[in-house]
């Protein structure tokens, strides 16, 4: 083994970090501080010393660009190799791409939204350290959005459902779930945004929201998605650090901040958890080769790492685990089945296709969900299978009622009774509003003025704001083209896949 050469002399990391962040800040001389930073007081959060914020990564601008350039270089080498070698032929199955359609339609636009909002934080937070961390994250999020578009565009050449994701994100019913969550965060104050996106989204639930897509990609032969995913995740660990630093900093600054932060954790845990229901359905039902069940991922990443690891740490500051967390735990055996059933019933109006789980897939689900699948969910899939064997396909006719907060159709069952649907209602200004759970009802009741403004896709269709009264008119307004939607079996994607993989090699035949 060669001995490392003596290291080139340079400033220690801590000193370099101090010089390039705090030391580049200045006191305003001809503008009042309140005018320069007008948004950091109205949420009730008190900060006594902005220099108490330290970035554990001690990232400086030169190091940031050096490492990001290296990450991009590695990623684009993979993308080139994939395109040049017809990499799309190596997927486990074309049905896998439904997960990636959900990703580009649902997640990629959130990256762009995050880019915008972190740019705002990079301007308006008062401390130089959080401003610089927010600036790096803003640039990261733009990189994620761009690399995802580049990566997934390879599939757009061969498969349906990838063409109008940006328009769809603003219009299609199931995409209002992630969109409305981010709109909620972006229309909150800067500190609530830190707790919602940086802490709850990026730290508490990142492993459930993002890592499953990447592991699924890896296991199903989708090398480029795996590569951008891990490239993005390497930034994500910095974002997680920002989230954790944010919460600790806010809690340490003033005791009065504690109850405010607790309420935000209560709200945003449930908001982000509810959105992860789409990921649960993806993990258990949309991967030809499933990696890990939702239940197992929830136990490993959330119950073990967060409830077992993080929350005892936060208890020191007087923070308790999020409200309604016991409902999420009670739901782990049911969540994915209930949500995929909705996607399956309504995929005629989605920009992806669905299918009834086959025999092997059902066996895997029985194994993963020994207490619930055979009794509660398999009989329904068996009925679908019988109908399909006779040449039919059940799609739900009509539009579902949506939860006023999470905007997911009201499919969830009572935490203690999986045979009755959970309906909650609240009255506000003499009108009734419907929510899917105690968690969403609590969120509604806390800020009714905000949530009555929700853009609910079903209401919008009935109000005549979505292209017209008939299904074809709405689909046209959504940007969904014939073949993007419906049943996977017999779809254009499946036919193309079969054609590319059929026949003996020409040579010698």
């Amino acid at each position: 083994m060669t001995q490392a050469k003596p290291r080139a002399k340079k400033l220690p990391l801590k000193e370099r970090y101090a010089l390039l962040t705090r030391d580049l800040d200045w006191e305003p001389s001809y503008v009042e501080r309140e005018k320069l930073f007008p948004y950091t007081s109205y949420e009730g959060i008190k900060i006594h010393d902005w220099d108490g914020w330290q970035d554990p990564f001690r990232l400086t601008v030169d190091a940031y660009y050096k490492y990001q350039a290296e990450k991009d270089k590695r990623l684009y080498a993979v993308l080139d190799g994939f395109a040049q070698s017809q990499g799309h032929l190596g997927l486990a199955d074309a049905s896998y791409l439904n997960a990636i359609k959900l990703f580009i339609q649902g997640v990629t636009p959130l990256e762009y939204a995050a880019h915008r909002h972190f740019a705002y934080l990079a301007r308006y937070l008062e401390g130089p350290a959080p401003r610089f961390a927010a600036l790096c994250q803003s640039i990261d999020e733009l990189r994620h959005c761009q690399t995802q578009i580049h990566t997934i565009s390879n599939y757009n050449k061969y498969y349906g459902g990838f063409h109008s994701w940006s328009k769809m994100h603003d219009r299609v019913w199931y995409l209002s779930v992630p969109k409305s969550l981010f709109d909620d965060a972006m229309s909150a104050g800067p500190f609530e945004f830190l707790i919602s996106i940086s802490f709850s989204f990026e730290y508490l639930l990142t492993n459930l929201l993002f890592v499953p897509f990447m592991s699924g990609a890896s296991f199903n032969g989708d090398m480029p998605t795996m590569s951008f995913g891990f490239s993005a995740q390497s930034d994500e660990s910095r974002h997680m650090t920002l989230g954790l630093e944010a919460i600790k900093f806010l809690l340490e600054q003033d005791e009065g901040n504690v109850p405010i932060i607790q309420a935000w954790i209560d709200k945003w845990f449930w908001r982000a958890y509810r959105m992860s229901a789409l990921v649960a359905a993806m993990m258990d039902y949309m991967l030809p080769k499933p990696v890990m069940s939702w239940k197992e991922a929830f136990e490993l990443y959330f119950e073990d790492q967060m409830l077992g690891g993080l929350f005892p740490d936060l208890e020191y500051y007087g923070i308790r685990p999020p409200r309604h967390v016991e409902d999420a735990i009670a739901e782990k055996d049911h969540l994915s089945h209930q949500v995929y059933k909705i996607l399956h019933n309504f995929s005629f109006a989605a920009a992806f296709t669905t299918q009834t789980p086959g025999v092997e897939h059902s066996a895997w689900l029985s194994e993963q969900y020994p207490g619930t699948f055979d009794e509660l969910y398999k009989p329904v899939w068996d009925k679908h299978a019988r109908t399909e064997a006779a040449g039919g396909r059940i799609f739900f006719q009509g539009l579902p009622q949506l939860c006023q907060v999470c905007q997911i159709p009201m499919v969830f069952t009572e935490p203690d009774d999986p045979t009755s649907t959970s309906f909650r209602t609240s009255s506000f200004r003499s009108e009734t509003f419907h929510t899917c759970s105690d968690g969403c009802k609590w969120i509604f009741d806390r800020e009714p003025e905000k949530f009555v403004q929700a853009w609910l896709p079903v209401h919008q269709i009935y109000q005549g704001n979505c292209g017209g009264p008939s299904v074809p008119e709405v689909l046209d307004w959504y940007g969904i083209q014939e073949g993007d939607n419906g049943e996977y079996k017999g779809s254009p994607d499946q036919r193309s896949w079969a054609e590319w993989h059929s026949g003996a090699p020409k040579q010698g035949s």
Binding site: P12, K14, E70, F230
Partner: protein, 94 residues
């Protein structure tokens, strides 16, 4: 302090260039467990995981900046309680 026994974790991208790094972490953390998941390695230990620049450099046979750790990491559970020129420590604080 029973709290130090809580598990911390680091997820590292399963790649050729990260193998010496993982070997170095394994050498410096005898209690470490490693779980293979598609595309990544999940490193876990009770209380803390330490990454020493010198051990990594000995495995790599070249100079290594602790900042390069950013290229390898996918996710983590815990807190970066130290990150300087020589060492990275992930632990729970309280």
């Amino acid at each position: 302090m029973t709290s130090t026994l809580r598990q911390v974790g680091i997820d590292i991208q399963d790649a050729e260039e990260n193998r010496p790094l993982v070997d170095a972490i394994r050498a410096d953390n005898p209690e470490l467990t490693i779980r293979h998941l598609p595309g990544l390695l999940k490193l876990q230990a009770a209380g803390r995981i330490v990454v020493n620049r010198e051990t990594v450099e000995a495995q790599l046979g070249r100079e290594w900046d602790t900042g390069e750790f950013q290229l390898a990491i996918v996710s983590y559970a815990g807190n970066f309680s130290e990150w300087d020129d020589d060492q990275i420590i992930v632990s729970w604080e309280h």
